[in-house]
Amino acid sequence: MISTVTRQSNDYPQQRRGRNALFPRSAAEEVAQIVICETADDVAAALQSALDAGMRPTVRSGGHCYEDFVVNNPNGVLIDVSKLNAVKATPDGGCQIGPGAVLGDIYIGLHEQAKVNLPIGTCYTVGAGGHISGGGYGVLSRQQGLTVDYLVAVDILTVQHNGKVVKRHVDRNTDADLFRCLRGGGGANFGIITNFYFGNIPVAPVQISSAGVSFPWETMTEEKFIQIVQTYGHYLQTRGQERDTWPMFTMMGLSHKLPNGRINIGATWNDMDGKNDLRVPTEFLDLFLKCGEADSLQGPAVTEGTPTNRFQLSPCVEGKHRFTTRPWLEETALRQSGAPRGYGSTRGKYKSCYMKGNFTTEEAKRMYAWLTRDIPNVNTLCVIAVDSYGGAVNAPHLAHETAVPQRASVMKLQYQQYWQKPEEDAARFQYFDAMYTDIYSANVTGKHAGTPFHGEHYEGCYINYPDQDMLRYDFWPELYYGNGDLPHVLKKVKKKYDPNNVFHNSMSIRT
């Protein structure tokens, strides 16, 4: 059954926006209506109705879009698929996931039904539709690969040249070109997805153990900062790519310098057999003892950048890190993310980078400089979250079978900034853009300077962490989709399956 929210509805103020309070920027950008669907047929009907009225449709699953792709739709129709949230493990060792299912419910559903798992993300309330469309990754990715590496088919609604909705079931044999592009090409480029099918999905870990080390900003120096980040990067570039380390996921939170602020490095170990052999994460965390006085950070797994309770800290002892071990589902399903969608006043800006190797000294210096520089009159709260990467993700053949070309990276960075006051927008955007441009001018020169363009050091950016600042570069599609054949393939498929460019936003594929 379809329910429609209009400007006159009581819940319009919440339904017209997502989680990022930045968008929509003004009343002029707001949608005319939100259509909440319960079934794939509802979605098809809502989409056809929007098309027949000459209105632009946008699609929402979890509402976590980092940019304005969904809610900046002046007088258009927002089709909400959050109720298409079924999670079904199938007898053949696969599963079906509705686009509206949130990640936490996927973990729970698959575990309860069949003790299986998908390597999806860590934010409980992120919706499957956007997450999986852009590739999908999480703490199990080094061990198990990306979410889309297990995708075997997709149900999707596309729109023909004549404005008529068509239901498609695409896979390697049917509309194979579209299927490839749906494996990481980004949400809402080609149509509205109504179901994901996965095959041969892995089992879930038995339990997760986590621990960390922590360094206070109070005693941080540039030299120490460089040593910390290069220790982290060197491990992931070398030892971290050996298979026995793949069950370990690490993260480093390079937070902006604040009173009582800390730089935290965490490690989680996916224990698959119940033996909980923690030698690999112990070996990893021990490396940081040479960086100066480190505190041992007890789990739960470190949340990058958030102030650390001093009661969780104790002096680091080599070989004896304070691991917290929890059953896998309990550890995973505990992760929440913010207020319910549509509420809250938190504004956010994000950037990303795939790194193929260690931080260079110049790069680290620039990071340090920016993390110790304040925006005047603003509480400069930001973090560069550095996730471990690689392992099972870096199977070269998958670059050609999916739309995720980044298969040689060892770290994935997410720059995050959060604030409350709209009057700080301009200053924060300017700071973040200047920071990013400066950092990625350390190793990249010429036309691509200021970006992590593909080359010796980087593999571009992640489409699920979209950044409209990149639009000023005419090569921005290559940043996200690589400088091989994929941008061309995406354009061709876009033209073929969405000839009217029904599904568009500021960073959708342009033909």
Partner: protein, 362 residues
Amino acid sequence: MFSQAPQWTRRHFSQTMVAAIAATLLDTGAPAQDTSLAFATSPGPIQVFRAKGSRWTLVHETAAASPAHIVQHPSLPLLYVLHDVAQWENLPRGAVSAYLINPLTGTLTHRGTQPLSLSATNPRHAVLTADGTALLVAAHSGGIYNQLPVAPDGALLPVSSILKQYGPPDDSTYKTSTPRATIRHNDGSIFSVDPGQETVSRFLVTSAGIQIRHRTRVHVGSGPSQIALSPNGRNAYVMHSDNGSIAHHFVGGAGLSTQQQLVPSIGGEMLLHPSGRFLLVAGGDRTQILRIDTRSGAMAAHGWAGYALKFLRFAQDGGTLVAFLADTHTVVSMPFDSRIGQLGTVTSLATVQDCTSLHYTA
């Protein structure tokens, strides 16, 4: 980069408008709109000419991004110029700029640009509503119409209504909508031809937005690309881009009637004489003249002229045709004898490299 002048605000726009009109009235007593100015666009600049008899003098040139079509405000010294681009300020959209005309000097002053909606790329044609309160823009590549409100002082306001269109309803072609030309009917409605959708649409454009009043599907593969309306509003002539044929339809209460007549033509560009008695079609290296029976609306072959013309424009009295001769890059004029339907000798007026549009309302 052609974005809004940093100091431009609505208040500044209004104040400048008042000053410009006042200065004109003080100096010459002439109305703000000087009909002796003509405008030509090319891939780069907009050129302004002072048109005096058979002589056009270039008085001003201003850079602009792919200016493709000009709409002049009916009562204020303003031009609205479409930027035929696929990207504006890094986003996939076209844009429209407003320029203030100094009637004394011919100088154009940029007075702000409004971007179109996302995906409304390559705007090619636009028309003001009869009351001048809105500009309807046809975005060719995007298959989208945008409505931009026009303030009482002539300032363009942000897009207020968007209408997306698609290809023909049947499956026999694989075209998408590519709106090409718009024209205003006497009753205030706006007709638009779309060769991709293969339709002639009639819109109402009001404060409630763009509404489709009627749509006429023309025959498969015809690609209607131009439309002309008779002065009494009862007849429509639609050029088919596929083979250059021209169809005559009656204009009814809702939309177009079925096709009444189909005549072959050389294709190209079409222009109706202000009297409604002649239809000129310029294509290739010739110009065809069709005679129209103003009672029945029927067309008949009449004559030819050996000129390869583009961007045809009649003077308001219909006595002169102004056009662009592509092979010599010159704007030319020819007398048109409406008693016998004949073009006279060509006179060169000005040189314009790679002209993309002409605007002349003398």
